[in-house]
């Protein structure tokens, strides 16, 4: 149901019944390794290209979801997913494998919440009973498309971020009371494109912070809430700079919240000593951290209500070369333990 200007409330509280999270070598050495279902020790995953390995990460995450839910592909009505690679081919090829009717979506690194919002809406309104949604990314595949060949000796500035090699997927289904101790989606706010004129592709956090702020403020306004309603507000991949910048923007806009309550998936996933500059990024970042670590924490009782705000930078290598600035977007979904 529409609430306010750009938000939905899911009155039937769709359930996130099962999740699957896969990752690569960097993630295996990170802080949240225990929350991954499958971890690989190299980037090729026995495939002959990075893009094919990217596809495998997505396929394995989906297979894990089905196994945990004790379902088959035939039982799933829709597959809503996307990634960062041109024409979202890794996700589309995984849809070729799983043969589930497919909505390919693109929101850059905000794809995970775009998918979860759409999936929750469809379930809530009886458009489907079971939907698998999520997103993945692959460090080397993203580097070679957006920046430089992986062996190139280019120097990354301290504002740069590290694309996660990983995928996070979830089964969203009708709430029929049979799923015990499972989180539910309660509302979502769809972001609009915000462009503050930043042009440096090595400073995504700074570019995305206004979009995150805009969506969070819209969420509070549409649902008549404030930060005190949530135990945790977590952004997708703003990194160090984006988190600090958006926190200041929110505080200036009157949002009262402890900085501890305002976290970022990109800062949670890796250890301090991993060379990731200002944090992790990638469409798989928010998905892997949410569907693994954060939901596990919710099930253990650490958080009852969280707001996940995935942020994306909607640029391409060509738009940068043509002198365009970086338009960004953020989508928010609120998740609660019943």
């Amino acid at each position: 149901m529409l609430m306010g200007k750009q938000s939905w409330v899911f009155q039937n509280k769709p359930v996130i019944a099962a999740t699957g999270v896969t990752g690569g070598p960097f993630e295996a050495n990170g802080k949240l390794a225990a929350d991954f279902d499958i971890l690989h020790d190299d980037l090729w995953i026995d495939e002959d290209s990075y893009e094919k390995a990217h596809r495998v990460l997505i396929e394995e995450a989906c297979e894990t979801v089905l196994k945990k839910a004790n379902l088959q592909e035939e039982d799933i009505h829709f597959f809503i997913a996307g990634d960062l690679i041109n024409q979202i081919t890794p996700t589309s090829f995984s849809a070729r494998t799983n043969q589930i009717p497919y909505f390919g979506i693109f929101g850059a690194c905000s794809t995970s919440m775009e998918g979860l919002a759409l999936a929750s809406f469809m379930i809530d309104h009886g458009g489907a009973k079971n939907i698998i949604t999520g997103s993945g990314s692959h460090n080397a595949a993203a580097e070679r498309q957006f920046r430089y060949p992986t062996e190139y000796g280019g120097q990354k500035p301290p504002t740069a971020q590290w694309t996660v090699t990983g995928a996070g997927f979830a089964l969203v289904k009708e709430n029929d009371g049979t799923d015990e101790n499972c989180p539910v989606t309660v509302s979502a706010t769809i972001g609009k494109v915000v462009d503050m004129g930043l042009t440096d592709p090595f400073n995504m956090g700074g570019a995305m912070a206004p979009a995150a702020t805009d969506t969070i403020l819209a969420h509070f306004k549409d649902l008549n809430l404030d930060a005190s309603y949530y135990d945790l507000i977590v952004t997708g991949d703003l990194g160090e700079i984006g988190r600090n910048t958006s926190y200041e923007l929110l505080t200036n806009a009157g949002v009262k919240m402890d900085k501890e309550k305002y976290q970022d998936c990109g800062l949670l996933i890796y250890k301090e000593d991993q060379p990731v500059n200002s944090g992790a990024s990638g469409s798989g970042c928010s998905a892997a951290v949410l569907y693994g670590h954060l939901l596990n924490q919710m099930k253990k009782g650490k958080y009852k209500r969280i707001l996940v705000v995935a942020t994306g930078a909607l640029l391409s290598p060509m738009s940068f070369q043509q002198g365009e600035s970086i338009p960004c977007i953020a989508h928010a979904v609120s998740i609660e333990m019943p």
């Binding site: 980037l43 060949p149 992986t150 062996e151 280019g154």
Partner: protein, 118 residues
């Protein structure tokens, strides 16, 4: 011989610092910076300033990419001396061919032998 090592280190280092300033202060991409430096090398040779730098600093001037611009101009001018203006076109790659050929050949061999490590 020893003084040459010292000057090679110093001059090579300085040219690289200029490049680093173009990266960090000028916020130029590596592509822009290197293209600019190669043009600078060509212009310096046009004024007859690069050869003396090579005599003074040896590899400190021949190894940075600026020397590529210098070599291109040299090849062009040598040929133009012998054959007139058309020599500007025909002579250009004479001196630099080893660098570019080596890069292509070894690049191709590298692609056959190595896999990227991410």
């Amino acid at each position: 011989m020893l003084p040459m090592f010292f000057w090679a280190f110093i001059v090579g280092g300085i040219i690289c610092v200029i490049g680093q300033l173009l990266f960090d202060v000028g916020k130029l991409t590596p592509g822009h910076t290197l293209s600019l430096m190669v043009v600078i090398g060509a212009v310096l040779d046009g004024f007859g300033l690069y050869e003396p730098l090579i005599d003074f600093a040896g590899a400190g001037a021949t190894i940075p990419i600026t020397s590529f611009g210098n070599s291109l101009v040299h090849g062009a001018l040598n040929e133009a001396e012998r054959h007139g203006i058309v020599g500007v076109l025909t002579g250009m790659f004479e001196v630099t061919s080893s660098g570019i050929s080596a890069a292509i050949i070894f690049g191709f061999l590298g692609a056959l032998v190595f896999k990227p490590k991410g």
